[in-house]
């Protein structure tokens, strides 16, 4: 066989493999949407789940997922921002910084079930937070921190040094340069990172099974008292999220319409995550255009 033919065959094989991957993705998305979307109705989204009979909805699970997401971002964003600023602006280039980077890498590569078990051990048992939204949010923070920190660091690093020098030459202090010049320029990248991490957090289940719990008690959506156990805002109540719900109806529960519930819930999950992904791209670009002179 001459080299030209081998070249052609290799190219064809590569095209074939790429085609298969694209087909797999199309099948996945298509399967979820075709099976799930017809079952999504307003009623499905607004009725509570049923344990033993068909016809249950996902009202509480959906709310829990969103509430947990907000709490997680509230806790993890400030910490990740501080760490990101440290790594991008303050960290000297020495063994200690190297150690910190390794630590963050270790944290990001830990299996989420290990992070969840640590959360169970530390938050639920040692700190007596019991199975609660708060435990779940903190466990998700562990899981979210390394990725968010890295994306913030990267977007701060991509800010041109000239901007920093300009700030310095105006006599601004380090901190002012960072908060008034570098952060605004890096904002589009940071926001994209936050939204993408929100998608990841929204779909996470393994870290939540033993921290936020697997039960969704009936809550009162008119009760705004955050300390009341029946209030929907109370962070100390157990909360099964949408992803955990899908896992649970498929493995442990006796709900007769498990397949319907999980396909519709999967579709909801995928749609929300698609929205996150698209908006991350869109908002990032839009903000970047708005805040800089790029056309």
């Amino acid at each position: 066989m001459n080299p030209k033919r081998i070249n052609n065959i290799a190219t064809a094989v590569i095209y074939g493999l790429v085609g298969i991957v694209v087909l797999i993705l199309l099948f996945l998305i298509g399967y979820i949407l075709f099976n799930g979307v017809p079952d999504i109705s307003w009623k499905f989204l607004t009725t509570p789940a049923q344990a033993f009979s068909a016809g249950g909805g996902i009202r509480d699970q959906l709310f829990n997922s969103l509430y947990l997401l907000v709490l997680t971002l509230l806790i993890s964003f400030p910490i990740a921002l501080g760490s990101g600023i440290y790594l991008a602006e303050y960290a000297p280039d020495n063994w200690f910084t190297n150690l910190i980077r390794t630590t963050i890498e270790v944290l990001s590569s830990l299996p989420s079930v290990v992070v969840g078990l640590f959360g169970y051990l530390f938050l639920v048992i040692q700190l007596h937070l019991s199975f609660s939204i708060l435990s779940g949010a903190i466990a998700l923070t562990f899981f979210n921190l390394p990725l968010l920190t890295r994306s913030i660091e990267e977007s701060l690093n991509s800010v041109s040094d000239l901007q920093k020098q300009a700030g310095m030459s105006l006599g601004l202090s380090d901190w002012r340069t960072i908060t008034r010049i570098i952060l605004p320029v890096g904002l589009p990248g940071i926001l994209t990172g936050v939204i993408l991490s929100a998608g990841r957090v929204f779909g996470e289940a393994a870290a939540l099974i033993y921290t936020a719990g697997q039960s969704a008690p009936i809550v009162n959506y008119a009760n705004w008292n955050i300390f009341d156990p029946s209030s929907f805002l109370n962070p100390m109540r157990p909360a099964e999220t949408l992803a955990v719900h899908i896992w649970k109806v498929n493995t442990e529960s006796v709900t007769p319409d498990a397949h319907l519930i999980s396909s519709a819930s999967s579709a909801v999950l995928i749609i929300v995550i698609l929205i996150f992904n698209l908006s991350a791209r869109f908002i990032g670009n839009w903000l970047y255009k708005k805040m800089t002179a790029t056309r």
């Binding site: 080299p3 590569s109 996470e204």
Partner: protein, 307 residues
């Protein structure tokens, strides 16, 4: 006079802000380090309790094949052989990585060498979407499509290593692909030009020059993919069958370390042997994750491209 002296000697508002901001950043990074130390300490101290408090033979734990923590065998030792789970975990990991690597390499070569900007623009979202699909959804699709399909073709229950491999293959594909793309792109353009100047065609250049230069990076990508596969819990748990048996074939029900952990931690009492051995399983996961990390570091040091 006093006023001027005061003004010169006290810190300005900007300086105080500066120190305050710096302190907050140090605090944040300190928090992350403390967290990692905490995780390592807690899991390790719990994980070794099996061996220190319950006096289980560590070899019996790693190489034993009977898992039944509630009862004891003929010699009075508890039956806590974790080998079936260790073997299953490693087999799904290695198989998934082995299946995914050719696809990932094809995707990476296509994106960096063949397709140009347009193809990349098309494939980038494909990868991002594959990453974005949550693991429970992969598990659900595996449960409702892959498992029945295997049942139809091979008979049996359909649960097992094969189903786990297929699900994990799709899950690690984007990880391996995106890291491989990075390493292919890091090969300097001059290498391609030099190869072309010698008269090599595209495949010769890719095969003889680019893939070899990028080999350490690709290896890193595969290891990261394996780390993800090894630690994945729910998707695997849903399709593997959850029977702690030595896997006899690819289509017999088995159980991985992660799947055992997800199903059993809630059913055991803290501080008892059945609970302690579960933490020992978590410790194995932790060690493997650290090991994958070390391996990546080692390869990174040895094989970085010198320009």
């Amino acid at each position: 006079m006093k006023e001027i002296q005061n003004k010169l000697l006290t810190k300005s508002k900007a300086t105080r802000e500066d120190h305050f901001g710096r302190a907050i950043c140090y605090l944040c990074i300190g928090l992350i380090i403390a967290l990692v130390v905490c995780i390592l300490y807690f899991i390790t101290s719990r994980g070794i309790a099996t061996f220190t408090q319950n006096h289980v033979n560590i070899w019996g734990f790693l190489a034993g094949t009977n898992w039944n923590p509630g009862s004891v065998d003929a010699h009075g030792n508890p039956e806590v052989g974790a080998l079936p789970m260790i073997v299953t975990s490693f087999s799904v990991t290695v198989l998934a990585a082995a299946v995914a690597t050719p696809f990932a390499l094809a995707m990476a070569i296509f994106m960096s060498e063949i397709a140009g900007k347009k193809g990349t623009k098309f494939l980038q979202p494909v990868i991002e979407l594959l990453v974005g699909i949550p693991s429970v959804v992969y598990g659900f699709i595996g449960l409702s499509v892959i498992v029945p399909l295997i049942r139809k073709i091979f008979g049996g229950t359909g649960f097992g290593i094969l189903a786990g491999t297929i699900v994990l293959f799709v899950m690690v594909l984007p990880t391996i692909t995106s890291l491989s793309v990075d390493s292919l792109r890091a090969v300097p353009l001059s290498y391609r030009q030099a190869s072309a100047a010698l008269g090599a065609n595209r495949w010769q250049t890719i095969y003889k020059v680019i893939l070899r230069t990028a080999a350490p990076g690709i290896l890193t990508a595969v290891i990261f993919g394996m780390a993800r596969a090894f630690g994945e819990a729910l998707a695997v748990q849903m399709v593997i069958g959850n029977a702690v048996l030595m896997p006899k074939s690819l289509v017999s029900p088995a159980s991985t370390l992660t799947s055992k952990l997800t199903t059993d931690v809630g059913n055991t009492v803290m501080g008892t042997l059945p609970n302690n051995v579960l933490w020992s399983l978590a410790l194995i996961l932790l060690f493997m994750s650290l090991f994958f990390n070390l391996l990546v570091r080692f390869i990174g040091k040895k094989g970085s491209i010198k320009k």
